[in-house]
């Protein structure tokens, strides 16, 4: 291990690994630090991802695919199930293996990796970020770097130490709990989404099937809802009503910063990626694919900046991210605000009218069209999604 690097990445999730990999591919020196003992563990995620989202970065491999998805089922408060078939749409992952494999691709590209390294401060030189302070096995240490890439997740603090405004408004934080339960009899190829005031007000409740009859079951509610009733009590209600005696294999909590991307995701010597930058699809709460895209852009630009000996090049990252996905997320955010404010009655009506469409003609577009009849003001935003 060296004492200074061109680039230090903080956090070894999907976004951090892609940042490390794409930077290392430029031939510059890269170190990725992870606070936990293991890359990929603990998992804090529903683990569903679109096929297109991952295959851009890694060859699909059965060892990290828990199930193949080609159906979405949206369940309205009165139990009406609206099902949409897709082709080969996506996967439910084994994140602990998936993250591990992604980190290996970074290592293969030449990045160094160190786990159990908890970053607790930044170094500055003339007001510019110039390295990190970290704790490693009880010892306080430091390392210099020309660029620090913060991929430290929903609990990100690195960005704020660098002077960027990064904390999430509690109303935009989707506070989630999830269990992986066994003996859950649902269709293996279907993601189930439940809506309504009783299951997950202002968010959704999910059942994502995994191999061997297990499933990830969880929900997210905003901090605004959490003020009155926690995500955990919603989950406990659902489980005692629907699967009272299922064996529970894992039980986790987590947060999704369900907002648009931060206004600034780069600054002198610093770049933010993944959840730390709020690169999350605000409609679905999905952040794996968009975090990897953000990480890959940041890593490449950081590598280029080092090679060109022009560190201000990293400031072009904001714009490139915005054009690639950021502006799309802004539209999703407006759609989310429309949809998640629907009353139970409106969800029921949408599901019923959607089901009157012949099965082979039910598409996500049709679903939105149906939703539109109930909320015409969403039209403009939805039109934009299909245009961009």
């Amino acid at each position: 291990m060296k004492s200074d690097y061109d680039i230090i990445v903080v956090g070894a999730g999907p976004a951090g690994s892609m940042a490390a990999r794409f930077a290392a591919e430029k031939g510059v020196s890269v170190l990725m630090l992870e606070k936990d003992r293991d890359v990929g563990y603990p998992v804090r995620c529903g683990e569903a991802v679109s096929k297109a989202g991952v295959s851009e970065f890694i060859e699909p491999d059965e060892k990290w695919i828990s199930s193949h998805i080609n159906n979405f089922a949206l369940i309205s408060p009165d139990g009406t199930e609206a099902t949409i078939e897709f082709g080969d749409a996506g996967y439910v992952l084994e994140r602990r293996i998936f993250d591990y494999e992604l980190a290996k691709t970074a290592a293969k590209a030449g990045a160094e990796i160190l786990t159990r390294a908890y970053v607790n401060g930044l170094l500055f030189e003339n007001g510019v970020v110039s390295g990190v302070k970290y704790e490693y096995r009880g010892e306080q240490k430091q390392l210099s770097a020309k660029i620090v890439i913060a991929a430290d997740g929903v609990e990100s603090r690195v960005g704020r130490w660098a002077g960027l405004r990064t904390f999430t408004d509690f109303r935009e934080m989707e506070c989630c709990v999830q269990i992986t339960a066994s003996n859950i009899n649902v269709e293996k190829n279907t993601l189930y989404f439940y809506f309504g005031q009783n299951v997950a007000p202002g968010g959704y409740f999910w059942i994502f099937p995994k191999s061997n009859n297990a499933a990830n079951i969880g929900l997210g509610v905003s901090g605004m809802v959490g003020k009155k009733k926690s995500a955990l009590s919603f989950l406990n209600n659902f489980m005692s009503n629907n699967f009272p005696d299922s064996p529970i294999l894992t039980s986790i909590a987590g947060g999704v910063p369900s907002s648009i991307t931060l206004e600034k995701i780069s600054g002198p010597g610093i770049m933010l990626v993944g959840d730390a930058a709020r690169q999350v699809n605000p409609l679905s709460g999905g952040g794996i694919a968009s975090g990897m895209i953000g990480g890959s852009i940041a890593g490449r630009i950081a590598g280029e900046a080092i090679l060109r000996n022009n560190l201000s090049h990293i400031l072009s990252y904001d714009k490139e991210w915005h054009n690639r996905l950021g502006k799309r997320h802004e539209i999703f955010e407006r759609i989310k605000n429309g949809i998640y404010n629907f009353s139970d009655d409106k969800f029921n009506k949408i599901a019923q009218s959607f089901n009157s469409i012949p099965k082979d003609k039910r598409t996500l577009g049709r679903l939105f069209t149906t939703a539109l009849l109930n909320q015409p003001s969403l039209l403009v935003d939805i039109a934009k999604v299909f245009i961009i």
């Binding site: 159990r116 704790e135 609990e155 509690f170 506070c175 509610v221 901090g223 959490g226 009590s233 909590a253």
Partner: protein
């Protein structure tokens, strides 16, 4: 209404044996007042303003308001 001076009485308590270390509270804290390591969490009382946003965002109800005041581990 609960806000007090930053060095004043800390009224928020993270129940350490029940925490899942998920980071929701850290993400919403406007004051950067929560330290979260792999499996260790505490409130930095020199920064906390008792604003309670961490309590509302905790998915598993392990952050509590304690009007009696709590002892905290603070910055060294």
């Amino acid at each position: 209404m609960y806000r007090q001076a930053k060095t004043g009485k800390l009224l928020i308590e993270i129940l350490p044996n029940k925490c899942d270390f998920c980071g929701c509270c850290v993400g919403v804290c406007p004051e950067d007042a929560i330290e979260l390591k792999e499996a260790e969490i505490y409130i930095i009382d020199e920064r906390c303003t008792n604003c309670s946003k961490c309590i509302w965002s905790c998915p598993i109800e392990v952050i509590k308001f304690n009007k009696e005041g709590v002892l905290s581990k603070s910055l060294a």
